[in-house]
């Protein structure tokens, strides 16, 4: 058991709870209709259009979270702009941050 600031965390207890809930879920599943297996009801309904093959519809990484990135387009444009891949820029950032640290450390004393 791990004591935290606000309480405790016991993974063994969590696993026992998880197993109990999984068993309950399995029992509830057992109350379902036995005949609901296979057949037309499991196929996706595409308004009568034939279902394309799985290879065709597998979503590639480049398309995942497109909406998320579109919503944060301004942020990502700015981020991509600073990730230039040029070593001169990397060093400029390093030196710039060092300068900011100097200001932070010395300015605090003045204030």
């Amino acid at each position: 058991m791990l004591r935290t600031t606000g309480g405790y965390w016991d993974p063994v207890l969590w696993i026992i709870g998880f197993i109990v809930i999984a068993i309950i879920a399995y029992i509830i599943r057992g109350f379902g209709r036995k005949d609901y297996k296979g057949g037309e009801q499991l196929k996706p309904y595409l308004s009568g259009v034939e279902e394309p093959s799985k290879e065709e519809v597998h979503i590639r990484a480049g398309n995942i979270y497109w909406g998320f990135m579109e919503a944060l387009k301004g942020y990502y444009d700015a981020m991509m702009k600073i990730h230039t891949g040029i070593i001169n820029d990397y060093i400029a950032w390093f030196v710039g941050i060092s300068a900011l640290l100097f200001i932070a450390v010395f300015l605090v004393e003045v204030i």
């Binding site: 016991d10 998880f18 590639r60 979270y65 990135m69 070593i87 950032w93 941050i97 060092s98």
Partner: protein, 518 residues
């Protein structure tokens, strides 16, 4: 050779053993490839045992001192001198905690490499450099001397750069290594200049002696800024992280796992400088806030930059930056509260969370890079768009990936959850916004790894490939075992390993006293 002798000399042996082995490896390589492999693995297993042996002693009996070249290794200050003049290895809870990480990741990486680099040329040099990376990490972690730390930082950086460029027939490997070398050289010069400033004022290089003498003068402040900037950059803190994805993505995957541990050695150096070298003389509110800001930026920018990546290793490299943010946040909160009454209640808990996260991250990020290497080994691509359906044929790799992904996302009952929980709760006490950002980053981490799992392992079978060789699975299994073990028994790990490390870092007086006495 008896046990007491071995224990007494273990700090030196831990560094010397892989150093000697590194130079013996190319010689053995000339005679037999199998003997070379067996030799390297045997050395790393002995190394792991030695580190565990010393760790047991340090966690039981406290700081272990070793003076290089002295007739009596515990004699830190010679009779004819007023200050330590020899190189002193000072192994406290935090040092040995880091050494445990370095030794374990190196062992897993070497086992994994047996099959992973089978088709590459220059394997003798590869293992020599791998052992030198371990020497660099352990040297930085066990030394009690600033100049010695600089030397081992250089050993580490040069060996890492050579290994990043190991597959030199790929242009991007050479480019990544070049960037790493340039940025490391400048960081090393910053460190060297800072050490020169300290030496010029105090005539000292020993960390404990410097810590007792330091006055926080203007020159000390300049040295502090140089050290913080250099080590924060070397551990990949945003906005000085740009080299990380370039280097991590092109190195052989077993080496990328070691680069994670190498970055953590720099993180350790950063913490050692703040807590031990400067300690209570610091303006703790300012420097604590600086570390927390580095942490928040690293967490958020790292994870958001990971999401759009299509290169599996670049994506994971950005996550490595993000996870470093958690460590900076946890330990930064501890530094911020170091002299306040709240430190004993939640400041130390925040530090425990940050330090626990260091070992957790080394294990699950190491594992994730190894799974990425397994995919590359079979498909010869890092492009997620060209992957799919690997779960059909690479079942063990899929399971290892799921465990690593759930652990990094902080899903219970894996180890990442326990360390993040400690950080969330303690950081909340300082400011709820810190915890909210940390939790948001965890959600985005999960989302990002769902993308990787879907792209690489799910979907119809596209590639007709087999599972990777057994030695690669064994390398992954070592790290998975630790992840599950730490996930199931976080209380034991925190009480026996993490808490002593956090306590050692916070207790500057004990570190000084171990060398100077009194």
């Amino acid at each position: 050779m008896n046990v007491d002798w071995l224990l007494e000399h273990s700090p030196a042996l831990i560094i010397v053993l892989p150093l000697l082995a590194a130079f013996l490896t190319p010689i053995i390589d000339k005679f037999s490839k199998k003997a070379r492999n067996a030799f390297v693995i045997a050395v790393l297993i002995i190394e792991e045992i030695l580190v565990i042996f010393l760790a047991h002693d340090v966690f039981t009996n406290g700081i272990h001192i070793y003076t290089m070249g002295a007739a009596n290794p515990t004699e830190t200050v010679p009779a004819q001198a007023a200050v330590p003049i020899r190189i002193v290895l000072e192994v406290d809870g935090m040092s040995i905690f880091m050494a445990l990480i370095s030794a374990t990741v190196s062992l897993a990486a070497a086992i994994y490499s047996l099959a992973y680099i089978e088709e590459e040329k220059g394997k003798g040099k590869f293992y020599t450099l791998l052992l030198l990376v371990l020497v660099g990490m352990l040297g930085m972690e066990l030394t009690g001397d600033m100049f010695n730390m600089f030397v081992f930082l250089e050993v580490l950086s040069i060996a890492c750069a050579a290994l990043i460029a190991y597959r030199s027939h790929f242009g991007d490997s050479v480019e990544g290594a070049f960037k790493f070398l340039i940025i490391s050289s400048i960081a090393a010069l910053f460190v060297l200049f800072a050490i020169a400033l300290l030496y010029a004022q105090y005539d000292l290089l020993n960390i404990a002696a410097l810590a007792s003498a330091i006055n926080y003068t203007h020159l000390d402040k300049i040295a502090l800024v140089l050290l913080i900037a250099a080590f924060a950059m070397k551990c990949g803190a945003v906005p000085m992280h740009f080299w990380t994805p370039d280097a991590y993505s092109v190195a052989p995957s077993s080496i990328t796992a070691m680069l994670v541990a190498a970055s953590q050695a720099s993180l350790y150096a950063l913490f050692r400088v703040c807590f031990t070298l400067y300690g209570v003389t610091l303006n703790l509110a300012t420097i604590g806030a600086v570390i927390i800001i580095f942490g928040l930026l690293s967490m958020f920018v790292g994870v958001t930059m990971a999401i759009p990546q299509k290169d599996i290793k670049r994506l994971m490299a950005y996550h490595a930056i993000s996870q470093t943010g958690y460590m900076l946040l946890g330990v930064g909160v501890g530094l911020y509260l170091l002299t306040k009454p709240e430190f004993s209640s939640y400041g130390i808990k925040a530090m425990e969370g940050g330090i626990f996260h260091i070992i957790n991250h080394a294990m699950y990020k190491g594992l994730l890079f190894l799974t990425a290497g397994a995919i590359y080994y079979r498909l010869k691509t890092r492009n997620l768009n060209e992957m799919g359906g690997l779960g059909h044929s690479m079942k063990y790799t899929s399971i290892f990936f799921i465990i690593g992904a759930l652990a990094i996302a902080g899903i219970p009952p894996f180890n990442g959850f326990a360390s993040k929980l400690l950080i969330y709760e303690a950081a909340y006490k300082v400011s709820p916004i810190l915890s909210i950002i940390a939790m948001l980053v965890s959600i985005l981490t999960l989302a990002s790894f769902v993308k990787v799992f879907h792209s690489a392992f799910m979907g119809p079978k596209i590639h007709d490939v087999e599972e990777v060789p057994k030695s690669m699975l064994a390398g992954m299994a070592v790290l998975t075992f630790v992840i599950i073990l730490f996930g199931l028994f976080p209380g034991w790990v925190v009480s026996n390993i993490v808490h002593p490390a956090a306590q050692a870092l916070a207790d500057q007086a004990a570190y000084i006293q171990a060398v100077l006495g009194g």
